[in-house]
Symmetry: C2
Subunit: 232 residues, 2 copies
Amino acid sequence: MTTTTSHSTASRSLSERIADAIADMIRTEGLAPGDPLHSARSLAAEFEVTVPTVREALRRLEAVEVIQFRHGSGTYVGGGVRRRLLANPHTGGDLASVLELVDARLLIEPGIAAAAAANRNDEQLAALEATTQNALVPQRGNERPREHFHVALAAASGNALVCDTLAALLDVRSRDQVEIRRRYHDRERDHEEHIEIFRAVSEQDAAAAAELTRTHLAAIRDTVITLGEELG
Amino acid sequence: MTTTTSHSTASRSLSERIADAIADMIRTEGLAPGDPLHSARSLAAEFEVTVPTVREALRRLEAVEVIQFRHGSGTYVGGGVRRRLLANPHTGGDLASVLELVDARLLIEPGIAAAAAANRNDEQLAALEATTQNALVPQRGNERPREHFHVALAAASGNALVCDTLAALLDVRSRDQVEIRRRYHDRERDHEEHIEIFRAVSEQDAAAAAELTRTHLAAIRDTVITLGEELG
DNA sequence: GGTCATCAAGTGATCTAGTCACTTGATGTG
DNA sequence: CACATCAAGTGACTAGATCACTTGATGACC
């Protein structure tokens, strides 16, 4: 229930402890993503430190998307408060790593699909169905990112941590992924396969859900390989 | 190969771009965890910004363990440079989330074990065997964290991203996990089960590796549930 | 009355210029 | 040779500014 934040040593830096305190504050006050935080100056006064110190703390939190800065406007709660797993925003990578990502998904997603089929409730099912439309309509640049079909599928497994895991995984090399999707992948086919998976989950057919997910990802994998060959 | 870091807008803050630049620098210069970075003052001079700005950038990187501060000593490369997935260090949670974690592992690790059995090479196998000893000897507080058996197992799958995923997962609520292990779990049994899984992987028996992993995690799950009941 | 430019207050972003606390390797003494 | 001492380098933090951006209120204009 309560946080076991005590990391003994007490040698943790002031800005680090303030970062924890702010994160705690967000949680205890029940703030949701988008809610405004006190200004950096106010926070500095509250914690009785100077502005640069509280800004270091905020930068820490920004890195994990717990908060979000908006220049001239304020500081807001970010989506990371609830996510327990994150994609590292500071990693480079090559095209080989895109293939590695698909392989990783191939390894874990079928099991997730099976669990979703076994455990899903009606609400999760409805949310999953809603996301099947996303494959058809390209994402607009300015609109808020929609929930991904595969994330909704993981959510239907009933385990929020599994959902976080898959979301983080999809966030890895996300730019390359959307690029591949946009330029080389068959949206129609994606959509159809999503529908089929949805149907299996709907009918609580775990084995079918797993198998359909496997073939679906295998198709994506082929696309990536083909792309790799084209680019040499 | 090359980074596609351009996030268009150019509205990204100076400290954010510097954080990227430092991460890039670490990668291009091939620095490994533990290697020293230039001092904050030097970096400030190199990037032609002031110290607080470069410190904000460094705090960002510290949050994802790409770098690490040592007061009075210097700034060093951290273990996060290579990790693509991370556990969010700023999340609270309760005991229910520990159970959720075990469930998540139960969902994805058997598949990983099977892949490890199918793809492992001799080097990975040797590394895996080495970690089987860890369950017996308690971790000393001051010693460097040892590689976890289950992480080594994921590494043997041949997919580094899968390995990162499992490592991040085990990092979630790690304090609770070690606490549970230390006080309630049967080390002997852990060790024996690890040995059995290792043997299955060694013999490239994918089905057995998956099943043994499942029962192993199920045992851990029972421990957590029992603990939950004891505490009410 | 409604639309739109203007403006001032609030906020984030960055700078400047320091002081204090800690680590570490060199120095020198016993 | 072992050990205390010390100075230089480094991170941690303070203090007080200035600039850039957003936003809601104001008020003029149509």
